[in-house]
Each structure stands twice: as C-alpha cells, then as structure tokens.
C-alpha cells in the first residue's frame, strides 16, 4: 500500500488573454484530449477518477462541478471538485492513488478570466463580509499591505521586486505558450503606475485564459504507460489565518509549512542543494521573493539581492520561473499552480524547447490562492 505516484500525461490549451472561439467546455476538452494522448489512455476505459479545481464565482455558475464531467470523459464516474488551486487537485489525486483504490486519476484546472467582466468585485467578495468588505477597498490592497510589511521586515527593495518582473517576462520570450513575454528594464517596471503602494501595477500579473489537464498513475500503471514518468516525491499544503487583523503579514507561513510537509515526504533537508529549479507563485512580483525565503532556499532578506544578482535566472544556480511564471504566462486563476507544475514536468522530461535547463532531476512547484487568502501548496517532482 501507499505506493509512489507519477504524472504520466500533460495537456494544455489557451494561455492567451482571451479565447473567444471556444467555450470553457471546449477549452477543457482541448487540454484533456492532449493529456490523454500524451499518457496513452482512454478516459472512458482507463481513467478511474477525476479531480477538478474551480470556484463558483470565477465561473458565474453555482455548484460548478455539475458541468465538469462530460468534456473530460468523466460521465458516470468518480468526479469531484476541489475549491483550491491546481496543486490541491494534484494532492487530491495523489491521495486517491495512494489509497490503493485507484490506479489512474485525471486532474483539471482552467481559467476563463476573460469572461468575468467584474473580476475585482468578485474578488472583493472573498473579504470578510462584515469586518472588511464594507470598507470598499479593492482587494489588491491586501497585497500592498503584505508587500509593505515584507519589505519592512527583510530590507528588500522595490528595485529587487522589479527585478523579478524583468526576469520572468524575459524568460517568457522563450516560451511559445506565454503571452506576456517582454524585454524590460528595471526602470520600465518602476516607472509604471502604482496599484496599491508600494505595489506597482507592472509588478502584478495580467490574467489569461487556459486549461490544463494532468494524468496521474500508480507506480505499476505508470511504468506500463510511459517511458518517463515524473514522480511526485512529496506534496504538502497548508492554510494560515483568513483574518486580516491577526495574520502574520510579513512571512508566508503557509508556504513554509506546506514545504515542510513536502520536504519530509521527499526526504529533503537542504532544499537549495537538493532542488535543481523551481516554479513558484509570482502573481505579484514580491511574492516570488517572499516564497523563495519561505521555501527555505534563502534566509529572509536574501532573495531580493540574489535575484538582482541573477541567481534565479535560467543560467543561475537556482532557476526560478523559467516558464515566465504568472507574470509571463498570465494569471490562470485556479489553474495557476497547474501551469507552474506543467513547466516542471516539461523540464524534467527534457521537452521545454528553447528554454530547456540542462541536467535537471528535481524540481519544486509552489502556488498560492491569491488575495486575500493565506493558503498555498508545494510539490516536489523528479524524473
């Protein structure tokens, strides 16, 4: 029992600011067909359970799980929806397979952000309805406050945060799936308008539409299906405090705890030595720095300086967000973590094309659920 679990198929569609030619179902179907073909499975015959990640208010549909089975090949099968990030979906599939009751499980996440006309107002509905929402702040203010406290506690500078934007959007130029590639200077980033000071608008990821499907399998099934399974060595997730009044504003404790869980499963004591590259949350540029510290790669205050020095570029010691991250690929709402995981899978398979890293064996994925939450997940993958 409690066997190893691998990712044996990936498929994706979209990754564009808008996808008006397809419905959300057709976008999901496009990604699903690619993933099943990649894994060599027939969803009706082989896939035993399906996990989707979605939030009702992002879809404009209550009980959205109703509309998930058909285009995934899951009708009259064990389908469930998690209101979490794509990594929560991967964790769910991981647990299902480890019970020994399921051999092949599919995970789906998508974004049709372009269809949401009032996204800021939807996001405001994630604030406490009695204590916070009546103040009528745009929810980005939570990121502004968090960034401010993070800079204060660690001595990180705005320039160092801007360096994340320069790096990730430049990386995106080598990624044909990324719509927001750009060759920017620090000054280009810093001269943009403020969003919620000290957070600038150009340090915030734009949204994109897209769908990602992954097929997971037990060790035995994985070895029968594919030549190069990508193993889930560890996966952890954690929720901190929803309260804006009593949370720890400077540090991403949820990421630190999720990482501890994943590291302990993977037997990792020194992340910087053990892990070759990482794809982490960068919905806001400062989050990449805060996250790298919470993951134990660097001490608090070091990530900014090292990023400015090029430590996290594709040529650096710890490449971070080679895909371009959310700043380069677009913020895919609930599918964001799956987009990061997709890059790690492609890199570990040696299928990342022009941006392929040399000699990579272990990659880390991290995701965060966005403002105003303190909820995130971490996965360690290997080839």
């Amino acid at each position: 029992m409690n066997q190893r679990v691998a990712i044996v198929g990936v498929g994706w569609a979209g990754f564009r600011p808008a996808t008006p030619e397809v419905s959300y179902k057709e976008l999901m179907y496009d990604a699903a067909v690619r993933a099943y073909t990649d894994a060599g499975v027939d969803p009706r015959r082989d896939v035993e359970s399906f996990v989707t990640v979605a939030e009702d208010f992002h879809e404009g549909t209550s009980i959205f799980d109703e509309y998930t089975p058909d285009q995934l090949g899951g009708a009259l099968k064990s389908v469930q929806t998690i209101t979490g990030d794509g990594l929560h979906g991967l964790a769910t599939a991981y647990m299902l397979i480890r019970t020994g009751q399921f051999d092949i499980v599919a995970v789906e996440g998508h974004s049709k952000a372009s269809n949401i006309l009032t996204l800021d107002e939807i996001t405001a509905y994630a604030q406490d309805p009695v204590l916070n929402r009546p103040l009528r702040f745009n929810t980005h203010f939570v990121a502004g406050m968090e960034m401010n406290r993070y800079l204060y506690e660690t001595g990180t500078t705005r320039e160092q945060c801007a360096a994340v934007v320069v790096k990730n959007r430049f990386n995106a130029l080598a990624n044909p799936s990324a719509p927001y590639g750009a060759d920017l200077t620090l000054q280009d980033v810093l001269s943009g308008p403020m969003l919620s000071a000290p957070l600038g608008l150009r340090e915030t990821a734009e949204h994109a539409d897209g769908a990602i499907v992954m097929v997971l399998a037990s060790e035995q099934a994985a070895q029968q299906l594919v030549d190069l399974p990508i193993w889930i060595e560890g996966i952890g997730w954690c929720n901190d405090s929803p309260s804006l009044e009593s949370r720890d504003w400077g540090q991403a404790i949820y990421t630190a705890q999720a990482a501890r869980m994943a590291y302990s499963q993977a037997g990792i004591n020194h992340p910087l030595q053990a892990i070759d590259f990482a794809e982490v949350d960068d919905i806001y540029a400062y989050k990449e720095l805060q996250t790298l510290e919470a993951l134990g790669f660097f001490r608090p205050g070091e990530a900014g300086e090292l990023t400015a020095e090029g430590f996290t570029t594709p040529e650096g010691d710890l490449p971070v967000n080679v895909s371009g991250g959310s700043l380069g690929c677009g913020h895919l709402l609930d599918a964001t973590g799956l987009a990061r995981a997709l890059e790690v899978v492609l890199q570990l398979r040696g299928e990342a094309g022009a941006r392929q890293l040399a000699d990579v064996e272990i990659g880390l994925v991290q995701s965060w659920r966005g403002v105003p939450t303190t909820n995130g997940a971490v996965a360690i993958l290997s080839n």
């Binding site: 419905s23 179902k25 090949g73 049709k112 269809n115 949401i116 009032t118 107002e121 309805p129």
Partner: protein, 176 residues
C-alpha cells in the same frame, strides 16, 4: 449522542427578532457580471435558433443524436462535429405545474416547465439517452397536460429572434 449529550449548540432567530431591531446585519449585493464565450457547439446552437431551427449533434459511434450540440460525445469521447437540425415537434417526457417563480414569488396561473423529447433525436425506445430539452408549455390548460403529449414549438417572429433559447416562446399541444 442523545444518550451522552444533553445540550446542542445553535440559536434560532425569528422574524420578530429582525423586526424589533434586535439583530444587526449588513446588506450587500454581488455585482458579478459575465460574458460567457459560447464557442463552437453552443454558438452554432444559438445561431440556428435565430434561424428558427433546433440543432442537434450526432455521434456515429454511439448511434445517438442529442441536443444541445457539443464538441465531444460524453459516452465514447469521440469528437462530435456533425450538427443537424431536429424537428421542432416532440413528446412531453415529464412536466410540472409550478406556482412559484424562480425567486419564490407566488403566482396564480402556473408556469409549465417540461422536458420534451424532440422528433429527429434519439428516443428512450432505443436506449437510456434521448434528445430532450427543457422548455415551457403554453396554449394549454394545466389540467390537460400529460406525459406523452405531442407538442410543437411556438417561435418568436423571425425579426425578434436574438439567438437565445427564448427565441422559442413555448411548446404547444398538437394533434397526432
């Protein structure tokens, strides 16, 4: 529980508590606005409704014709790319006489929602899947409606159709 536990938490409020101002609350309205891409299948369906046609989709693997159209057959996972017009007549599979609106307003004359198995689509005679759609019935006395009744669509005038399911006003009974 009932053996071991004597007290259960939870405090019930009455309308009176609110009327008397004993309970404070704040009121808010969600401004959630969406423009859903209709895509290939549903986009074709709506365009056909505007022309006065109900479109179905055929799966030749499963030998089924269903509606609304879709790009994949959910039973065999083969693509569905052949869309064909169905007839706008059919049989009432089931119905209700509903005396409350969607937002719980009481009405005197009931709305009559029904599932209608359309002519030209698969029927339950040949398997568990049928080409049915949900719509309303009209031009009929509520007490006359029955399962198995034959009905036909009543369309909006062509110039008023906008590519919506409401381009069909309702279905009305017809003679065999």
């Amino acid at each position: 529980m009932t053996v071991k536990i004597k007290e259960f938490p939870g405090t019930s409020l009455s309308e009176k508590d609110f009327d008397e101002g004993k309970i404070l609350f704040n009121y808010d309205e969600l401004k959630g606005e969406f423009a859903w891409d209709t895509g290939i299948a549903i986009g074709s369906y709506l365009a056909a409704l505007k022309e006065g046609l109900i479109l179905g989709a055929a799966c030749y693997t499963c030998h089924k014709i269903v509606t609304p159209p879709r790009t994949v057959c959910e039973w065999c996972f083969d693509p569905m790319d052949e869309y064909i017009p169905l007839l706008d007549t059919g049989v009432v599979n089931t119905f209700s006489l509903c005396y409350v609106t969607w937002d719980v307003q009481r009405i005197e004359q009931p709305e009559i929602p029904a599932v209608i198995m359309l002519d030209g689509a698969s029927s339950l005679d040949s398997g568990p899947i049928m080409g049915g759609i949900m719509h309303k019935l009209g031009e009929v006395k509520p007490e006359k409606v029955h399962i198995g009744m034959r009905v036909k669509a009543v369309w909006k005038p062509a110039e008023e159709r906008e590519g919506s399911v409401t381009d069909i006003l309702y279905f009305k009974p017809i003679e065999n």
